[in-house]
Amino acid sequence: MPDQNIPNTRYSKSWPWKMAWRDARNSKSKLLLFILAIALGIAALVGITSFRENLLVEINNQAKTLLGADVSVRGSQLLPDSLLAAHSEYAADMSRESYFASMVYFPRTDGTRLTQVRALSGKYPYYGAIETLPAEASRTFLEGQSALVDEKLMIQYNVETGDSVKVGNLLFHIAGKLRKIPGQTNVSSTAAPVVYIPYKYLDRTGLIQKGSRINYLHYYVFKEQADTTQAWKELKEVTEDRGYDVDTVEDEKRQTSRSFKDLTDFLELVAFVALLLGCIGVASSIYVYTKEKTSIVATLRCLGITSSQAITIFLIQVSFFGLIGSVFGSALGVSVQVFLPELLKDFIPISFTSSISWPSVFTGIAIGVVVSVLFALLSLVSLRLVSPLQAIRTEVDEIKKFDRIQALIALVLFGFINLLVYLQIRSWLDSIIFTAGLMGALIILGLMGAGLRWIIRKSLSQNISFAWRQGLSNLYRPHNQTTILIITLGLGTSFIATVLFMQSMLLERVTISGAGDRPNTVLFDIQTPQKEEVKTMTLDYDLPILQEVPIVTMRLEEINGMDQMESEQDTTIHRRSWVYNREYRVTYRDSLIDSESIAEGEWIGLAMGDSIPISIAKGFADNLDVKLGDKILWNVQGALVETYISSFRDIDWRRVQTNFLVLFPTGVLERAPQFHVLITKIDNTETSARYQQAVVRNYPNISIIDLELVLKTLDEILGKIAFVIRFMALFSIGTGIIMLISSIVLSRFQRMKENVLLRTLGASSIQLWKVVIAEYFFLGILGSLTGVLLALVFSVVLGQFVFELTFVPDFIQILWIILAVTGVTVFIGLFNNQSVISRSPLEVLRKAG
């Protein structure tokens, strides 16, 4: 063997950069889809994460104004003197507030409405302000028999400042319009409009009666030198042990942040789906790009470049264009984020103008570049297998479909996706399930693609027309893209469909129907002496009494002989501590109603002797951590009553019924202090208004829930939520369409020469159109069908484990999705091939180079 004379070539380090730039000059349009795909995904992600960052910062900055004080103490009873005295050790000042639901009446316009009445004394809020028109009304209303009324309510009932409002037995002069109170959102004020009255008039309204559900609030501002750390912490615990909620600024901050977690989590999920779709778009466009660059790589290999240099050239391009896409996407995301506070203003209790969150922007850019590179590498690594021999023999050494390096990249990719998912949901198990689900979806789609090829190959009849046969044969012939197109189409469809299904499911969750024979008016807080009179009055208005329910309030003392403290010390018991602190509103009956059914145990409708059987709502039993036969000791307004659990009930909470967590049999509570609820159905608005006015005039303590009004209000709120969801879903759908385009562009590369050849051999344009339609129709229908099936599975799983809802598919919606995706697939296929079909063969070949 001769001495090896291998040249000691020192490759130029800068040459791959030069080559990348030169090659990219003419490839910009081909990489446009790539840039768009990544940009939309990153835009959604940056928009949402920036918004969340801003929101959290603002919640942090404005936490004191959310609460309006340093601390608030809330309970269903006034604070005992001992606790008041202990609190005043730390407090520089204190304000009182009582709030409850009550009807109000506007005499001038004869309007009645269920509102949240708040009786206030003191200088609250100590931080922030109650915003009113005129501004001074927020303080002056406390001086006389005056009220502040929610501005929207005043507009709705055509009431002006200076008019009167009747609250209970008293008439108040409206001192001003209430625009904003600390911690309240537009949505909450729509659902429960507020009327402020001075605290000193509360008793005289006559609304404080036995069984009335009233919340008492004490707001404190700390003394400057007060020890608010350890000593206050202990006092807080003591107060909470007595059944009061104590909220500090820190608690309020946490609660507000947590209440927005669901919203931002959902929006981030949508953004993440948009990003994943973008990634598939990246993978598709780079797959096409790689195919097109194969001959260049073969030539360059002949000229002496190494395989790693070949990959480097295109990796530089991908990183650069990924960076451009990410920067563009981040800029778009920042613009979106400017609109988000406006879009979500009705849901946010604080006002803020968004500023650029640089960490979100840089994270977005970094994620964009990394996912671009990883998804692109899946295809790019195959370039290392391009043999220089392909420069002289194009038919040999086809790029291998799969190799170990690709498998390794796929693994890294899944790891990265898993990490991103984890960062969204902060649970390794859930993120692994999500990523595994994604992998499973890919395998299913791949199998569907292979199955379609096999079925068509085996069953294609020679008797069908040439165009249809050709179109269908394209699905299994060499160089077919069936599997990859089914994967991309299917995955895209499944993501889009899942977002749509989730949207429907979440909206369905809060939609109740007042149509048909269902009741639509509920009167509550009826005192026992008023019961018969109200019933008579209702019948006088020709209204049916659909349900009349007694309600007894009670507290839970012990479960199986254990009070709250003992229960908390026993680590084997997983009981929510609040079950001991809340007030229970309980009814008694001898039978079940149609919104409930026995899930376990036996329903006993009559208590015999000392043993009192009760029934517990099934879901609530988990919070209590109880089983059938367990004993519960109740404190019924001073009297202790021991019961045992004889059954668990399933309850349909969406029905317009009075449903109860705890149900007693007859024969126990009949003589306990109680109030009543009456349910009726009013068919026309005029009767409803007259009936409500009569009830409020005669029985000011009785509150009326007009379900028509509730539905209208709910509809208004849902409209706002739906708008937000749809706005965000636009990103996913937009990216999905780009992904669809890139996956279909895939096939153009393969079909172009074939179609040109058919044209040369004399195929008519119509025949070629039919070939294209047949091929893309089958791809579209199978891809979308598989995608929808996957989305159904995802939705059932998400519904079950995340939203705790039963997902009911809407077949019309499903049909629309399949038709839309198939239609778009065929349209893009036709559009994509029109240049090939409508031009002369030579022109196409010249253009293709």
Partner: protein, 221 residues
Amino acid sequence: MASILKVESLSKTYPSGNKFIKVLDNINFDVSPGESIAIVGPSGSGKTTLLGLCAGLDRATEGKVTLNNTLLNKLGEDDLAKVRNQYIGFIFQNFQLIPTLTALENVMVPLELRGEKNVQRLSADLLERVGLGDRLDHYPSQLSGGEQQRVAIARAFSNSPKILFADEPTGNLDDETGTHIEELLFDINKEQQTTLIIVTHDSELAKKTDKIISLKGGKII
């Protein structure tokens, strides 16, 4: 004189379905520096396969290829790339210019790859030499077939190769352009003292070389 290319007992077999097809069978020949050789034969005789093996584009099933004292069979892909960059020039039937680069940039590639200086001047001179001094900034799609092949010739000679492989260099050109390209190829080859291996169907072109290797059924006849 030591040979620049030595082919010994060279065989190449390709899988085809369940069978193997022997495309080249026990090929032996030597090429001296500066010599020009034509490999001729009917379609399917193994000409292009032989060229691919001699240029280190493919690997032999059996036998040895020694190019400029380097045994190609033993080299890894990266070393083969270095050999191609330093010692070999290529001219293809379908020109194989890089469509996204201008004529000048196409010629510059082999020199730029190894980090040489003044490559723009040298490449422009070469394009001037092949008569394309006024087409430096044109892209391949803006050039005729003959012009593209002239750019390919300029590129092939740009790294002053020891050996030049030409695969049907006039196969895609009309007679007149083909003749002009042949003249250019032989003239520059003479100027640069390069060894020339041409695969061709064209017996007239083959006659212009120093030696002809005829292949039939994968064997030298």
